[in-house]
Symmetry: C3
Subunit: 138 residues, 3 copies
């Protein structure tokens, strides 16, 4: 088992950051030839998934998440704490913090159009996000 952490810095709410290259680098550094890489984002207002990394799709995903958690809804979290990121927590819990991907000697076994991404969902963006990366296999 090999473990490292990846750091990415977002600029604003809704940023979708392609981390495929960083994940591939971690796999190579691990020395493991074939196995699974587990990713976990250590924050409650960010999430991990895969997507075709094309600006149109990225904006479509942002809009869809706003259907579930609209900007202008009343959030109990905001009323209590006044930090304005109720919608960020909700979206993050629905997408989830965890993602596991297979790899072989040829690298990540994703589809041609399938990139690994971090979703910055916080209204207070511009922060460094940490992803714990655990590689296991043979």
């Amino acid at each position: 088992m090999y473990r490292t952490s990846l750091k990415v810095t977002s600029e604003r709410e809704g940023d979708i950051i392609n981390i495929s290259r960083e994940v591939s680098t971690a796999i190579r550094k691990s020395g493991v030839k074939s196995g699974l890489v587990h990713l976990f984002v250590q924050h409650s207002t960010a999430a991990l998934t895969t997507i075709e990394y094309e600006p149109g799709v990225l904006s479509d995903l942002r809009r869809a998440l706003s259907v579930i958690a609209p900007d202008d809804a009343d959030y109990a979290h905001n009323a209590r704490w006044g930090d304005g990121n109720g919608r960020s927590h909700v979206k993050a819990s629905i997408i989830g913090p965890s993602l596991t991907l297979p790899f072989s000697e040829d690298g990540l076994m994703c589809g041609t159009w399938q990139q690994v991404v971090l979703l910055e969902l916080d209204v207070n963006a511009g922060r460094e996000r940490t992803i714990i990366c655990t590689v296991s296999g043979e």
Copy 2:
């Protein structure tokens, strides 16, 4: 590999139960010092995710899930089986039954505000839920 099952009992639909402590206990009992803990809820109307365990956010998440699967929609599942939990199945499939978390000698590597939770989504709550917990590592 170490395996155990966690049991939690819900009281009503929409309960969000913090299981971080139970998961941490399972990790300690496993004797594994660093690795991954995999959680799987063995039910089709419950789900697992992470969230800041704060009553405001929890109610915000409940409301967001009701946007996707409203209480008053017509469910084909209900029409067929009359058990009224069509919305519960839908929400559970979208959130998902499975969650993997990293841990080190210091315990679960979650963020400061990030708790592990079971979502009780069934309208027929008040039941015991089983989570299969598998610990692996070194």
Copy 3:
């Protein structure tokens, strides 16, 4: 560690294909008695989850996903590429491509009504989908 790939062919958008049997077969072939099976769908317009495999619930899930990504919304992806599957990408990213399940000598440790499914979300369906299946344990 044992790895294989499962192939399933969908017929149309919205197909929800029960792959529990194929996953169980892969576990048996692996020779691993107790452990975890990781599934990853190598496509950006398909997803994996669990659900009660009952036609009513399956149609309820399709409808819920259409709330998040309606058929008649304007998708930036479609405007750019003209392939009409913006909604497919959005739904796939929200559900996710990855699923890990525990198994014992008695097979998959799912709940009684809990089946493993592939969601065909592409409007251009009728295609073969590949799921990378990785079995680990003892």
